[in-house]
């Protein structure tokens, strides 16, 4: 592992021909650098190009343009069996006619490892995924979670430079999925192998990743640490896709190094003290974004960014209460944590109640209009 990056995609394009005969860029000029030992996730909804990108790293697809590098070496049209990466498939793709042992041993046999070494390494990797004693079972005799572990073991036994995981937890129920997320992360840290993980589940990506690439329409929308992506989304798509946001249309009234002042036509008011993000131009139409948990319902006017609203609906979901308010014709969602155990429904907001909403200026983001 001498190369700077475990995986690098340089200006990669993958064109597909749709059944109607049109050409479609499934992956559209994607460049990304994945560091050695990193847990890297590609996050996006179906059709965003994340799986195609992963398949190009694995060698199941070849880029139409651009180049994929693994450990600094250009991959070109190298077939999957000549790349030092291994894949955990969404469907697991366990060989149904082989036992757990034979499934895991398959990759080692292909390397020409001798019998005693195969036995040693299979035993070791089975211990790692806590499946000791299951060697003789067939995949059909295992639960979903166990099959998933076999799929991981089968790929890890090869000691790849990079492990590729294509929505490996998608078929598991929520509780097991959360458990496996932590387990996979622990495994990755213990082994120090680079993981490239594809998922459409933002919480999953947040839980495990060192860095996330948010993808849409074949392009990388933003790449960064989970905190960065949540707190400083690069554009409206990311702000909307990751978590929830209240969006308001506005126009930049004035711009200085320290703050931006944005005029909100719907409220006929100016919001001051907003953080300045690079690339904004004075007078530009923008979208103002604020997360529901960062709006406070308070009697105190903490600064001038406070607004009168009316409660239109409340939804109690146990951990939080979602309060929907109407502020001069615009819906603003507020998320309040239920930090105090209360049973009396009367202690919550009632519909029609007047409330004072406070938006701390450092929590409000100014994004380029799309």
């Amino acid at each position: 592992m001498t190369a700077e990056f475990a995986v690098e995609l340089r200006d990669v394009v993958k064109k597909f021909i749709t059944p109607e005969g049109n050409s479609l860029n499934a992956v559209d000029h994607v460049t990304m650098q994945i560091k050695n030992g990193e847990f890297f996730s590609m996050l996006g909804s179906s059709g965003c190009g994340k799986t195609t990108s992963l398949r190009m790293i694995a060698g199941f697809e070849w880029p139409t343009e651009g180049e994929v590098y693994i450990e600094g070496k250009a991959m070109g049209h190298l077939p999957p069996f000549q790349r030092k990466v291994n894949t955990v498939f969404q469907s697991y793709a366990l060989f149904q006619h082989l036992t757990v042992f034979q499934n895991i041993a398959f990759g080692l046999e292909m390397e020409g490892a001798d019998k005693s070494e195969i036995e040693k390494r299979v035993k070791h990797v089975l211990e790692m995924v806590q499946l000791t004693g299951m060697e003789r079972r067939k995949p059909k005799q295992l639960s979903g979670g166990q099959q998933q572990r076999v799929a991981v073991a089968r790929a890890l036994v090869k000691v790849p430079d990079v492990l590729l995981l294509d929505e490996p937890l998608g078929a598991l129920d929520l509780k097991l999925r959360k458990e496996m997320q932590l387990e996979l992360k622990a495994l990755q840290q213990q082994l120090g192998i680079t993981f490239v993980y594809v998922t459409h589940d933002q919480e999953e990506a947040m839980t495990m990743s060192d860095r996330i690439a948010v993808m849409s329409k074949g392009k990388v929308q933003q790449m960064g640490h989970p905190v960065e992506i949540y707190e400083r989304p690069a554009n409206k798509f990311v702000a909307d896709f990751i978590g929830e946001s209240n969006f308001l249309d506005g126009k930049i009234k004035s711009l200085s190094k320290e703050e931006a002042v944005v005029f909100i036509p719907a409220w006929n008011t100016e919001i001051t003290g907003l953080p300045v993000s690079p690339g904004l131009v004075n007078g530009e139409e923008v979208t103002v974004s604020i997360r529901p948990e960062k709006v406070l319902i308070s009697d105190q006017t903490l600064n001038q960014n406070s607004f009168k609203g009316k409660v239109t609906n409340t939804v109690y979901i146990g951990t939080d209460t979602h309060v929907y308010t109407d502020v001069m014709g615009k819906r603003v969602k507020v998320l309040e944590q239920n930090r105090i155990s209360r049973l009396d429904p009367g202690s919550f907001y009632t519909i029609g109640q007047d409330v004072n909403l406070v938006m701390m200026f450092e929590n409000v983001l100014v994004l380029k209009k799309e």
């Binding site: 069996f81 990759g107 090869k158």
Partner: protein, 296 residues
Amino acid sequence: MNPHRRHPFIFSSAILVYIFLYAPIIVLILFSFNASRANITFEGFIPTFSERTVMEGSVVKASPCGPFHWFCELAKDDDVIEAAGNTLTIAFISTLISTIIGTMAALALQRYEFKLKPFSQLSLYIPIVIPEIVMGIGILTLFSQLFGVINNGLGLSGDSRLSMGISTVIVSHIAFSVPFVTLVVQARLQGFDKSYEEAAMDLGANEWTTFRRVTFPMILPGVLSGGLLAFTLSLDDFVITFFTNGPGSTTLPIYVYGLLRRIITPQVNALSTVWILTIFSAVLLLQWVQSREAKH
């Protein structure tokens, strides 16, 4: 009212179906033990064993084989043995080749896109829907024209002239079996996820190893079903064999047909009984293999 109670109509129609399907077979088997040489009425089983066959009119009173008299007669009949040998040779060779070709065709149709794919798919059904007699005449015409051209063109004479025989039967059996094998294997491939092959390659197997270690074992049940279908089709084919056989390539169906034109002795029934039992055990064997496969 018990909703699961058998409806009398459903029950009786099931019984009728079984009678019409199996009664002829049972009668046929029963008559292979008939004491009477004239195979019209059942004169009872042959009662005793003896050194030599004892006949009373057309009724066998005693035989070295006892009730199995007609089976022994069958075994002594060189023509039957030769026909059975031909039938099995043709069935084995044509099954082997048509299963290989049919499986390859199914794989190609599943994984590749090409211009003539819809045509190829459709052309699979043509030999199935076309009347067999039309196909038989077609193949006969093709072979005789082809052989004529080759024989005259190369100036062949005597024994070296190409003529109808066991190889023409094999070729024609392969021709009509391939579509059946392809369709059966295709049905099996419907549920075959290509990620199995990708997983094998991902783990370091090249294309050939992937086929040998993963694809083939996984589609094997389909290939076996297709092969069995081809085997039974070949075993009992009459029409096409009738048009394409020649001297020395008589098969069992052709031979039985020849016997029928003379006299029907219980020997024909004995032959049919052996034949049915053979096919029946082959089917049972396959069922057993497949159920074992499913359990694991």
